[in-house]
């Protein structure tokens, strides 16, 4: 059984936000009005955080793309009263939208703020409405949503591999963010498979995980010299 995980090389990340755009497009993430975004109601399963250090002109910019950490010990799962969020056997923290009652306990439990509540009925600019991904549901108002490592791509990849009568290869399943990254800073694969790059990269001396002390066992690793 694979254990899907991600390694993000922060030293390669240029902060272009291509991952963020690809994620929004791939997963039918609804847009909100600017005033609603100011109230913290915008949704972005993959969020590129920007940090500015130093004073002008001696400043240094650094970026950190932040998807759901897909914890092996997910706090969000523990608090869900209706089992709408759960840890799948392959290590993806799933969110079952029709089961979610929108209590937002999980959003409060997540130390990475990776879960988003649909405050409004989903809406897109007219120019984008025709481009919705048919493999991902459009979430209604009142439910939580989150990054699923583009699980729909995994299902498709499994189906293609089975139809071809061969095992799943590393290149078969890549989430939209990893696909879109121009500097290949985002690497995705099976953390337990020695043939996959992530299994080597996670043991890199530069590797670190966010808030490891909480014991959430995140499956997203960051590579950075500064750690």
């Amino acid at each position: 059984m694979p254990r899907w995980g991600m390694v993000i090389d922060l030293d390669r990340c240029t902060g272009c936000a291509a991952c963020e755009v690809a994620c929004k497009s791939e997963n039918n993430i609804a847009t909100v009005r600017p005033d609603q975004a100011d109230m913290g109601r915008a949704m972005s399963w993959m969020k590129v955080e920007t940090k500015i250090e130093g004073d002008f002109p001696d400043t240094r910019l650094s970026f950190a793309p932040r998807p759901c950490m897909q914890c092996d010990n997910p706090p969000c799962v523990k608090v869900c009263p209706v089992s709408a969020t759960y840890l799948s056997p392959e290590g993806i923290v799933g969110q079952i939208y029709p089961r979610c009652i929108g209590c937002r306990y999980c959003a409060n439990a997540c130390p990475y703020t990776a879960k988003y509540f649909n405050w409004f009925a989903p809406a897109w600019p007219d120019s984008e409405r025709a481009h919705l991904d048919p493999d991902v549901s459009v979430r209604p108002r009142g439910v939580m949503e989150k990054c699923t490592f583009c699980d729909h791509r995994l299902q498709q990849a499994k189906e293609n591999a089975r139809a071809a009568g061969r095992p799943l290869r590393e290149s078969d399943f890549q989430p939209a963010c990893a696909d879109a990254c121009p500097t290949r800073a985002i690497v995705f694969g099976d953390l337990d498979n020695p043939a996959h790059r992530v299994s080597t990269l996670k043991n890199d001396p530069r590797a670190t995980r966010l808030m490891e002390s909480l014991g959430t066992e995140p499956k997203v690793y960051y590579l950075t010299q500064k750690a």
Binding site: Y86, S88, P89, E90, I92, G94, I96, Y97, P98, D135, V136, S137, V138, T148, D151, H152, Q155, E159, R162, A163
Partner: protein, 167 residues
């Protein structure tokens, strides 16, 4: 007074009957022609994939277009009125739009390819005796619920992971 009560009761009964009938037929599916599945699949031994061309390659199996009917119905075959009707569609070039009978909620992601081409399940497992019907059913012959899916998945030792079907 008694007549009024009797009349009122009869009115209520008729009202309930109308409401029940309306509810029963609210989701009924009607087809443009009286397609005979038995004739095509049993008597003529045609493969389901002839009229449902994407059944082994896509999510949706596809419904026959008038071009598929035209493969056989360029001229009237037999004496049935349905056959004449199909030939009428073919010769006039009018589109023949069949309607979906089986439907799933928008949050259920099912692919025919996985079940038909990979798992090699017979159509009857989910669609019942549709191949034996002589007139188009107005309602699905099998009520497909999550329990129905899970029962089969457990029996066949397949994944019951929620995100495999819901996302």
């Amino acid at each position: 007074m008694r007549a009024w009560l009797t009349g009122g009761a009869a009115g209520i009964a008729i009202g309930i009957a109308v409401a029940v009938t309306a509810a029963r037929w609210a989701g009924a599916v009607t087809q443009p022609v009286a397609f005979d599945h038995r004739k095509h699949t049993q008597d003529l031994k045609l493969d389901c994939a002839l009229c449902h061309p994407n059944v082994a390659v896509g999510q949706h199996p596809g419904l026959p277009s008038v071009e598929i009917c035209a493969m056989c119905h360029q001229t009237r075959l037999g004496t049935s009125s349905a056959s004449a009707q199909v030939t009428g569609y073919v010769t006039s070039g009018r589109p023949l739009v069949f309607r979906k009978l089986f439907g799933l909620p928008p949050y259920v992601f099912f692919t025919h390819r996985r079940h038909v081409a990979i798992a090699k399940l017979p159509c009857a497992d989910c669609h019942g005796d549709i191949a034996l019907t002589t007139t188009p059913p107005r309602r699905p012959l099998v009520t497909i619920t999550m329990n129905f899916c899970l029962h089969c998945h457990l029996k066949m030792h397949q994944s019951t992971d929620c995100i495999a079907c819901h996302r």
